[in-house]
């Protein structure tokens, strides 16, 4: 015990150092990316932060509690629509973000319980199919709730959503400081980063708590967990609602960032991508999940920029349509990755040991 404690003390210096370095990197990142590569790349970084929040939310459900959810994007949609309906000319309601974002998160959490309740008895493939259906139902509702009363504006979506405003500062307009103009992607970057940090802290603290232990126990053996006095129903619903909560926050941010949402943004492919981020990164391991979300957001965009010119350069003409080639390479990369490293890019020690044991047989 004392040995372990001393080791921890030694590590503290390293941890502080690591913290400072990452804080500085994250603080100057937008200027480096925005300055060297342009605002469109910074926009991609902003999106990566949204996906980090989504992936961390889904990770609570899939990674911690072991409940396979293929309809997670529904909570993103719920958060986004809550924000949009309460902050746009559509109903001419303009509530500030500090009301709409928490409200969107709560509504999403409520939908989490709504999904969780009927599926309490299901697990594995059966659960996956029901959640898949749930995700589609939410999307189809958004698509069709324009008649008889127009609530969601149907497939046209909701336009002119209010940007985030803090005091007199609107995130919708470029910021002028000392003659330099900073695009709104800069402001959103810091705003998203702050909330991402909050979501990371929330997920990490939950994992290392009585609740987190209960999730792992349930994932490992739900019958033994029940026999040890865990209320399986409550623990499952808690996982669904807390996961949905992060999804709802990301959804509200997405709505204000884009200024426009439509049901198209919340399809099945999005749910699958978020799940892929978790699996590829390292299921249940927060740093791995963050890495997975960043890589899977940025890599396709890099491919988009590289593939066209590369073909022109090597073959002198376009052999494959760049958009197709991009998805082809991306898909292939996922397959190869899963074959070579099924535990993910950055798995937790526990999960790595699990896979190592499996390899040994």
């Amino acid at each position: 015990m004392t040995m372990a404690l001393e080791m921890n003390k030694l590590d503290t210096n390293k941890k502080v150092g690591l913290f400072l370095v990452s804080a500085i990197v994250l603080a100057v990142l937008p200027f480096v990316v925005g300055g060297l590569l342009g605002n469109s790349w910074l926009r991609i970084i902003d999106f990566a932060l949204l996906y980090v929040m989504l992936a961390l939310g889904l990770n609570i459900v899939v990674g911690f509690a072991g409940l396979l959810d293929l309809g997670f994007i529904a909570f993103y949609a719920v958060g986004a629509y809550t924000f949009a309906l309460l902050g746009s000319p559509h109903f001419d309601i303009h509530l500030p973000f500090y009301i709409t974002i928490p409200l969107g998160a709560l509504v999403a959490a409520f939908f989490g319980i709504l999904l969780g309740t009927p599926v309490l008895r299901l697990k594995g493939d059966y659960l996956a199919i029901v959640t898949l259906g749930f995700g589609e139902i939410v999307r189809i509702f958004m698509n069709n709730l324009n008649a008889p009363i127009n609530i969601t504006n149907g497939p046209q979506g909701i336009n002119l959503i209010d940007p985030v405003k803090i005091g007199g500062l609107s995130f919708g307009k470029p910021l002028e400081i000392a003659g330099h103009s900073f695009n709104s992607v800069y402001l959103y970057y810091y705003f998203f980063l702050a909330l991402t940090v909050l979501v990371v802290i929330m997920a990490w603290r939950l994992q290392h708590s009585r609740i987190g232990r209960a999730w792992v126990a349930m994932r490992e053996d739900s019958i033994a967990a029940a026999a040890m006095g865990l209320n399986i129903r409550n623990i499952k619903l808690l996982a669904f609602s807390l996961g949905a909560l992060s999804g709802g926050v990301a959804g509200g941010l997405f709505a204000s960032f884009q200024g426009f949402i439509s049901p198209e943004s919340f399809g099945l492919l999005e749910s699958v991508m978020i799940l892929a981020m978790i699996v590829l990164g390292g299921m249940g391991h927060i740093p791995g999940v963050i890495l997975g979300a960043v890589v899977l957001t940025v890599a396709p965009e890099v491919l988009r920029d590289v593939i066209g010119p590369l073909q022109m350069h090597t073959f002198g003409r376009m052999l494959i349509d760049p958009e197709n080639a991009r998805m082809l390479i991306f898909g292939l990369a996922l397959v190869i990755m899963m074959l070579l490293r099924p535990e993910g890019m950055w798995p937790s020690k526990r999960r790595k040991a699990e896979f190592d044991d499996a390899k040994k047989g």
């Binding site: 009585r210 490992e220 033994a224 026999a227 040890m228 006095g229």
Partner: protein, 256 residues
């Protein structure tokens, strides 16, 4: 007069056409080691699952420590004070031994999600207490040296002990052990016997299923015998072992 801790009457449980428990009734007194024996398929584990809330009985009454537990959910049963182990050990394999015992503290602790996220003083103090209690229980069953090992990597004997520690973490009044000596060698069985005596001395009533009849005779205060879902005998070991119905159930009619 002994004080009844657990009392069931007229318990029936059917699986399709199989009448797994047929009108079973028994009383376990506070502070005793109560044994449950019977040939394979007699319904011992089914009865165990009924007593711990994993199975819902079809009919009957079930009271424990003055509370009605008929068809109660497992977590309610554990909350009232019944904890169990499993015949085919069911630990949380990827968790460490320490974490396994900490899970057992779940029902005796309160921290909710908000407390976990905010890490207020009360939550942190509770978390510390959970860990301290878990260490204490690992020491109690004598496996502190493997506290940080994953449960699935422990030796068989250690796994059995860990399961008992995890069950004790729920602060049971009745500890139900399903064949704890299965697969153990004589010296391990002897250690187990010492542990069970210690648990009983510390005020926990013990319910025990076991095949090792010799162990049961030396350890239990009273024994019930199940055969084809029916209780065919109950009493002190010396009487039960001479009961012709018991001998018949175990060895066949010719020996009776």
């Amino acid at each position: 007069m002994a004080h009844a801790l657990l009392k069931i009457e007229g318990i029936n449980k059917r699986f399709g056409g199989l009448h797994a428990l047929n009108n079973v009734g028994l009383t376990i007194n506070k502070g005793e080691i109560y044994g449950l024996i019977g040939p394979n398929g007699a319904g011992k584990t089914t009865l165990f699952n009924v007593l711990t809330g994993l199975y819902q009985p079809d009919e009957g009454t079930f009271t424990f420590d003055g509370q009605d537990l008929f068809r109660a959910k497992p977590h309610v049963v554990v909350g009232t004070g019944i904890a169990r182990t499993f015949q085919n050990i069911r630990l949380f394999g990827e968790m460490t031994a320490l974490e396994n015992v900490m899970v057992g503290r779940h029902i005796r602790s309160k921290a909710n999600a908000l407390g976990a996220i905010l890490r207020d003083k009360k939550t942190m103090a509770e978390e510390k207490a959970i860990e301290a209690k878990a260490w204490e229980l690992l020491a109690y069953v004598g496996i502190t040296d493997v506290a940080f090992e994953r449960a699935r990597n422990l030796s068989y004997g250690h796994q059995r002990r860990l399961e008992i520690a995890r069950a004790l973490a729920t602060e049971p009044k009745l500890l139900a052990l399903d064949e704890p000596a299965a697969g153990m060698n004589p010296s391990e069985t002897e250690d187990l016997k010492v542990l069970m005596e210690k648990i009983r001395k510390d005020g926990v009533t013990v319910l025990l299923i076991e095949h090792d009849v010799k162990l049961m005779m030396g350890l239990c205060d009273r024994i019930a015998v199940l055969d084809y879902g029916k209780k065919i005998a109950e009493g002190v070991p010396e009487v039960v072992r001479k009961d012709p119905k018991v001998i018949e159930a175990y060895l066949g009619a010719a020996h009776a």
